[in-house]
């Protein structure tokens, strides 16, 4: 007697299982797509969860008029809501600290304090970096046209200044990172010069950074030494 491939009951069960899998697959895919709709608000929420942090950076500048690329390195730190400090250690020491609207520049024994909004050209880059690090979506939206791409695992944020005059100097600032950590800042200037800053976050304990005990401990980026 020939065996029937699938008895009716088995067939129904199989069909049921296949549809269940298909459905689960669809749902799973839908869930994945929902996870892909990663926008500015989500990115800012992610970044804002880290209230303070420190990192080292290496910056390469490609300037047309110079014979070669200029490199500098140093440390960055930020603290919510609006403090950002960048200290260059090599090749020359200098320090730039911004809190609120006040910008303090120190080089050697000279210190100069000025209002950030009085120098819009300087404010552009400072706001781009500070706004991203502190997760201040409002400030970014006010100053730039923002485009977010990628996912929470690897995202990049394109910032184009809204002010036409500033666009004539800074074409765009592209910030990219992983999860709640910023890894790279690329500044493109209107005359073709480029500046690429690669950021390596320091672990909270090692850096001695103060964290808000109410917040969850910052997630260390993958690959941190």
């Amino acid at each position: 007697m020939p065996r029937q491939p699938f008895p009716p009951i088995e067939r129904r069960r199989l069909l049921g299982r296949i549809s269940a899998f298909a459905l689960a697959g669809c749902l799973g895919a839908g869930a994945a797509r929902a996870a892909d709709a990663f926008d500015l608000a989500a990115l800012m929420k992610l970044l804002a969860s880290v209230r303070t942090g420190e990192a080292t950076f290496v910056e390469r500048r490609e300037v047309a008029v110079l014979d070669r690329t200029v490199m500098s390195s140093g440390r960055l730190s930020f603290e919510a809501p609006d403090t950002f400090v960048r200290e260059t250690l090599k090749p020359q020491r200098d320090r730039m600290a911004v809190t609120g609207n006040t910008l303090t520049l120190s080089r050697g024994d000279r210190t100069r304090t000025m209002q950030l909004d009085a120098a819009p050209e300087a404010a552009v880059i400072v706001e781009a970096i500070r706004g991203t690090l502190t997760g201040n979506g409002g400030a970014l939206e006010r100053a730039f046209a923002t485009t977010v791409s990628g996912s929470a695992e690897r995202w990049s944020l394109d910032l184009v200044p809204r002010d036409a005059r500033l666009r004539g100097q800074v074409v765009s600032v592209r910030v990219s990172g992983e999860q709640a950590v910023v890894r790279e800042v690329v500044v493109l200037l209107a005359d073709g010069d480029r500046s690429v800053m690669t950021i390596e976050p320091l672990p909270a304990r090692a850096a001695g950074a103060r964290t808000d005990p109410a917040q969850p401990a910052p997630r260390a980026a993958s690959g941190t030494p």
Binding site: R61, E62, V63, V65, L66, D67, R68, V70, S72, T88, P91, Q92, D94, N101, R107, R110, T111, R112, T113, M114, Q115, D117, A118, A119, P120, E121, A122, V124, I125, D163, R165, Q169, V170, V187, L189, A190, D191, D193, R194, S195
Partner: protein, 841 residues
């Protein structure tokens, strides 16, 4: 020989007309001086004359320095783009008009000329040029620093000049000159941080004191802005020129209004009181004499007459007319009394005729006397009985005003001189001219009868209210004891600028970062080079304070223009071309910038080695000169050059003592905290004014004591005056008003004017009866005084309404309290001393 005419009335006495001619001549001279007087209406009357050198410098700056020419402009309404466009077009129009030395709106295009000049002289002017800079190591460090700026937006500005200025002198100069408090910049123009407003700053070419030219400059701005109003944009102007022009217009309008209102009110009162145009005409004479004499005296004494003096002078109308009132009413009453007395005597003489022959001689003699007596008219009666009291009242008023003459405020000193001259002229005009012009007083009656009856009723009732009024006075004393001191006024309260305008000014200043009357360091030197050298020394000390955080920054002329010595030192360290090339080769080895590309730099340094020193004259073609002139005032002849270094405060206010100790080894440095200095000056003058007022009140008391010769009478006379002063003071303190020098002046005037009424009541008591005519004249005189000071109280100029709000109620209270406290010995009688009522005239 005397003869009795058939009509029974003696012929009028012939008075010498000499007094009339003298008076006319005096009036003509005064009128001529008045017509040629110079009238001003600026704020100078409210600035104290300065005793110390610091304050003299300060006031000079406030009046004629750059601060007096600074205009703050705001554009409200519309959207940000429209405001930015309006800011640019307005600035362009203002620059084209030629009325402004500088117009800043955040547009950096205007700095082209300055930038070019600075670039060409960078090796003399840059603060970084020294011997170490031009060693190989120094060159390397400088080039690295400059290169570090590239790749940032700041680099975009230095890229064009990089190859000629690789050591970044331009950057260092820009760093030194940028202010630490700059306005917010949006869309290339300055905007406010606190309101949706575009802001601009301009300096007028016209001097601060030239209000006509300032007014034209303001009109230029308004006309240039007019087309923008169609877009819904609004213009806001503030600054010293705006205040000056507005105050002048306000003072002029107020004075005109007060003069017209005062005249109308007084004329109406007089018409009502006398009902006769002739009486009105006569009454106006002492007023006119007094006003002309007052203006002439001020013009001769001060060289110019201030509008506020004229405004105050309208009160003189109310006081001068009092003398006319006293005369016109009381002389008439005296005449009526004489007539009545003479009639009775004639009747009595006719009734008793025993022996015609024997009595003929006696009757002749008695007739002579009677005829003589009846030939004396009302004027004589008045001169004999009332004039001494009026004269004493005049003297007490003069005591009060004399205290003003010594005040440190030119405005108050003018008031004092005006009032003294005016009152003396009015009183003596009344005394000498009226007997000639109207020997029998006022012909008409008007409402005087009713006024007299009312006054009589009042004089009868008021003594009954003595107790309650005394309680009120004591209550006022207690209130003054318990309430905090009301003497809180300051210099700002004297200015006629309104609170809303001041608020706008503060907002615009905060937006623009204009350092407002803060702390400054004043230095002086005999010439330009020394002035800049001293400024450099002070700057070095102030740098230490900036590092320590005591101050945020400072503006010094030495930052714009280094002293010749410094420039020469810099020029001396510049290496020659071969040396520089060799060092450059070392410095740029393995660097990002090849030495072969820096040929322009080498030739620029070579050229700079023989450049002439930059001085103030060399800056004339650039906007830098105007910025320099704000901080460096050239001297002329004996007057030294002055340097003003503005200090900018950080989060905490500047500690002047700390700055002083930091500058202790800089010769001639003075740290001036403007507001504190002005407040201290005002407090000192208030203190002095209190002494002067006390001295004036004491002089009044002394005068009264000498006249009254009785302590008891003196106390009785002083009681109502003291009570009214206390009540007015308590009422003002309770209402929360901040009292200042002018309120003190007002209290002094209350004492001076109120003593007139107290003296009259005392006189009436001594002569045994408050006759209705005197009371009527007192009531009318008081009414005119209260009305004219009351008009002042309605003025919008703080100086005037301060005086008005004290004197108007004070004078009224003095009359009421005098009637209440100084008891009339007998109840008031109708006309004359005879029981029979006098016939109607």
């Amino acid at each position: 020989m005397s003869s009795t005419p058939a009509s029974g009335h003696p012929p009028p006495r012939q008075r010498s007309k000499r007094a009339l001619w003298v008076w006319l001549a005096f009036v003509a001279v005064a009128a001529a001086i008045t017509a040629r007087s110079h009238y001003v209406a600026d704020l100078s009357a409210f600035l104290p004359s300065a005793p110390t050198a610091e304050q003299a410098v300060l006031l000079d700056q406030v009046q004629s320095g750059v601060a007096a020419r600074l205009l703050l402009i705001g554009i409200d309404g519309g959207d940000p783009a429209a405001r930015a466009d309006a800011s640019r077009s307005l600035a362009a129009a203002m620059r084209a008009s030629g009325r402004f030395e500088a117009v800043h709106n955040g547009d950096t295009a205007e700095f082209q000329t300055s930038g070019q000049f600075l670039f060409e002289h960078r090796y003399l002017l840059s603060p970084a040029v020294d011997a170490a800079r031009f060693t190989a190591d120094g060159l390397r460090a400088a080039i690295d620093e400059t290169v570090a700026l590239l790749g940032t937006p700041a680099g975009a500005l230095i890229k064009p000049i990089l190859l000629r200025d690789p050591t970044g002198e331009t950057v260092r100069m820009a760093e030194a000159m940028l202010p630490s408090h700059a306005p917010r910049s949006e869309d290339g123009v300055w905007v406010s941080r606190s309101a949706p407003r575009a802001v601009l700053v301009a300096t007028t070419r016209a001097a601060g004191a030239d209000l006509d030219a300032q007014e034209q400059a303001l009109d230029t701005i308004r006309r240039a802005f007019a087309p923008q109003q169609a877009n819904g944009l609004r213009l806001a102007l503030s600054g010293a020129p705006v205040f000056g022009v507005a105050s002048r217009a306000q003072i002029k309008a107020e004075v005109e209004r007060l003069a017209i209102a005062g005249s109308v009110v007084i004329v109406a009162l007089l018409l009502v009181a006398f009902g006769s145009l002739r009486a009105l005409g006569t009454a106006v004479l002492p007023v006119a004499t007094g006003v002309l004499a007052g203006i002439a005296a001020v013009s001769l004494g001060f060289g110019q007459v201030h509008g506020v003096t004229l405004g105050f002078g309208t009160t003189l109308i109310g006081e001068a007319v009092d003398y006319a009132i006293y005369y016109l009413i009381q002389a008439r009453a005296g005449r009526a009394r004489r007539d009545a007395m003479k009639r009775d005597e004639t009747d009595a003489a006719a009734a008793a005729v025993p022996n015609r022959a024997a009595d003929a001689v006696a009757r002749h003699g008695r007739d002579d006397l009677a005829a003589e007596a009846s030939r004396q008219d009302g004027a004589d009666h008045w001169l004999a009985t009332s004039w001494p009291t009026v004269r004493l009242g005049l003297l007490t008023s003069l005591c009060g005003f004399a205290a003003l003459v010594f005040s440190g405020f030119p405005g108050l000193a003018q008031l004092g001189v005006f009032s003294i001259a005016g009152l003396v002229a009015a009183a003596f005009g009344t005394r000498y001219v009226f007997p000639i012009l109207s020997p029998d007083g006022a012909p008409g009656i008007g409402l005087r009868r009713r006024l007299g009856r009312f006054a009589g009723a009042g004089a009868a009732l008021l003594p009954r209210a003595r107790m309650p009024l005394l309680v009120v006075s004591i209550g006022a004393v207690v209130a003054l004891w318990l309430l905090p001191s009301p003497w809180r006024g300051d210099l700002a309260s004297l200015s006629p600028v309104g609170a809303a305008q001041l608020k706008l000014d503060a907002e615009l200043r905060a937006d623009v970062g204009a350092s407002d009357a803060g702390t400054l360091v004043a230095l002086s030197a005999p010439d330009e080079a020394t002035a800049l050298a001293v400024a450099e020394r002070a700057g070095a000390r102030l740098d230490a304070l900036v590092q320590a955080g005591a101050i945020d920054g400072y503006e010094s002329p030495a930052r714009l223009l280094p002293s010749p010595a410094t420039q020469a030192a810099r020029r001396a360290v510049l290496p020659d071309a071969p040396t520089l090339e060799a060092r450059l080769a070392t410095a740029t080895a393995q660097g990002p910038l090849a030495a072969s590309r820096l040929g322009g730099f080498v030739s620029d340094v070579e050229r700079a080695r023989s450049q002439p020193i930059v001085d103030r004259a060399a800056l004339a073609a650039t906007p830098l000169r105007q910025a320099l002139d704000a901080l460096l005032v050239p001297g002329a002849g004996a007057r030294p050059w002055r340097v003003f270094i503005n200090l900018q405060a950080g989060a905490k206010p500047i500690d002047a003592a700390q700055v002083r100790s930091a500058l202790v080894d800089v010769p001639g440095a003075r740290v001036v905290h403007i507001k504190a200095e002005l407040d201290a000056l005002y407090a000192r003058y208030l203190h002095e004014a209190m002494w002067q007022a006390t001295a004036g009140a004491f002089a009044v008391c002394l005068l009264l004591a000498l006249h009254l010769r009785s302590a008891r009478r003196l106390l009785q006379v002083a009681e109502p005056i003291a009570a009214s002063v206390v009540i007015v003071l308590a009422a003002l303190a309770a209402s929360g008003a901040a009292l200042g020098i002018l309120h003190l002046v007002g209290l002094l005037l209350v004492v001076a004017i109120g003593s007139n009424y107290a003296l009259f009541f005392d006189h009436l008591r001594m002569t045994g009866g408050a006759d209705v005519d005197t009371l009527a004249s007192l009531a009318l005189a008081n009414l005119t005084t209260v009305c004219s000071f009351g008009l002042l109280a309605l003025s919008s100029i703080p100086a005037l309404y301060a005086i008005g709000e004290v004197v108007a109620p004070g004078a009224l209270l003095c009359l009421v309290l005098s009637a209440a406290f100084i008891r009339a010995g007998q109840p008031p009688r109708p006309h004359g001393k005879m029981p029979r009522p006098a016939p109607a005239p």
